[in-house]
Subunit: 311 residues, 2 copies
């Protein structure tokens, strides 16, 4: 039967001040999904590699499975899809692992059925995948993974997703320390109320980051990468966080913060080499608290998912 293989990128959600509203796509890492047309309706997961056996093979409990089930329902498909999921990034890392899998799966399924929907129209299904993965239909990983670039989710109800042009100079480094933080736990520790004063500072920074990206002003981007609300709470779950942040700043980062719900920490820079230098410094800082880590360096990925040659 016909098969389609798709890569979908990892993402940095929140990007400093933009809790639940900002995300950006990386060139690497990312997941690959092979979708194969099946005469049997519905979705089956043939195999998952790279997850150490942690992810459910039942399609109804799997983020990619659920996303494709919703897609097939929407297009009233009479045929089904079999999925093979290749995880190329750590689970629970704050890199949007579940989002990358569901985006790759839905893009592949859409292609398999002759692209009845536009990329943007696939967002709703990938968000249903997120609901399975972390209990809420977030868009701040799936939207940038699906659409590429830097994405603002202005509103969830109704959903309003805006693509923000980013300067060519912008580079990212993400350091993933070898501890796991569950998205659900990272959300549970957050206070449900905040002071008006802190909120004002945060909306100044979200507005500032958009302005900095669009004015291509590295100084403004850096000053706006300030999160006085979520980062102080969540960083408690990341040993050595303050040292890592200081190391990034000393190595020339514009700014740094937690990637998604952590434990990965990202930094933004104006050059590829600076991103590597920051990454080295951040890894060393994690070592001082006994943590090994992975490093991913990338420009912003403005393309999103890629259809790959058949295996």
């Amino acid at each position: 039967m016909r098969s389609i293989r798709v890569f979908a990128p990892a993402t940095i959600a929140n990007v400093g001040p933009g809790f639940d509203i900002f995300g950006l796509a990386l060139h690497e890492p990312g997941d690959e999904v092979v979708a194969t047309l099946s005469q049997e309706p519905g979705v089956r997961i043939r195999a998952i590699t790279g997850d150490g056996g942690k992810l459910p093979l039942s399609a109804h409990n799997n983020t990619a499975g659920v996303a494709v089930i919703k897609f097939l329902e929407h297009i009233s498909a009479t045929q089904g899809v079999e999925l093979t999921i290749h995880k190329h990034m750590p689970l629970g890392s704050g890199l949007g692992s579940s989002a990358a899998s569901s985006v790759a799966a839905v893009v592949a399924a859409n292609e398999l059925f002759g692209s009845p929907l536009q990329r943007r129209e696939l967002l709703a299904f990938t968000m249903e995948g997120e609901r399975i993965a972390c209990g809420a239909a977030h868009a701040d990983n799936v939207a940038p993974s699906l659409l590429g670039g830097f994405v603002l989710i202005r509103s969830y109800d109704p959903l309003d997703v805006v693509q923000i042009p980013v300067p060519d100079f912008l580079h990212c480094v993400v350091i993933h320390p070898h501890i796991e933080v569950r998205t659900e736990d990272a959300r549970k520790i957050l206070r449900r109320e905040l002071s008006l004063r802190d909120a004002i500072s945060q909306w100044g920074n979200t507005a500032g980051l958009i302005a900095g990206l669009m004015l291509q002003d590295p100084g403004l981007i850096g000053r706006s990468l300030t999160d006085a609300i979520i980062e102080p709470q969540r960083s408690l779950l990341i040993p050595g966080f303050d040292r890592v942040k200081k190391a990034a700043a000393a190595a020339g980062a514009l700014g740094s913060s937690i990637s998604g719900s952590g434990p990965s920490v990202f930094a933004l820079t104006t050059q590829l080499q600076t991103a590597k230098d920051c990454g080295d410094a951040m890894q060393k800082a994690f070592q001082t608290v006994g943590l090994k880590s992975d490093m991913f360096v990338s420009a912003v990925n403005n393309y999103g998912p890629r259809i790959l040659p058949a295996e």
Copy 2:
């Protein structure tokens, strides 16, 4: 003695979601200040017109007086300044009346002394004027009045003021109903805590408004002109507010909200004629609750203060 006459524009602070961080300048109304060099050090206020006798003539208690006192101290002036202030807009209207006077006064004084400081360097002194007028050194009226255009105050500590380019199509109408709301009272009614959920919606909208202005996307500007936090509280002080807002929407406004701390209500539109139509509809809505009002229609004023020919 040598005199300088300066006009400084009225402003819309907050501009929907941007409580304390956004402001924009209008072409009218605005205040005029005549500054005259004096051999006697310090600041004296010769006269104030248009205020119905409400504003203090003591320079130390007057917003424009205080701003010029701070300016003269900064430049270590040995001569003094006499001020004549012509108020051309209502007090306590939410149009930045005190800001316009202090900006006009400081710009005139700076010109009088041969422009020792750049426009942007005058901001600190005008903020001291605001401290006298409303108890806190806000910048969301003085910054746009001084610099022109649409201004983001990303941070107050340290002060970080960013000018945001606005599309040429953007027009404003401001309706000032004939009731007075004191800035202090309008601040007192605000809750000091808010829910994380509301804060997220607000920072989505502040980011969205900046993106909408810079992408020149009228739909996004309109959708972002949403304030779920301050407007519901302050609109209680403005009779007929809901009707006025609905009237603006029905007449084609992109969006509308309270100007500054009110009671004025503004709407943004894509055309001059639509701004006038919205203004007519909003005035009629205020009439239904027995309120007379003034209307000001203007494009965004990208120039800020103007030095006028001598009288």
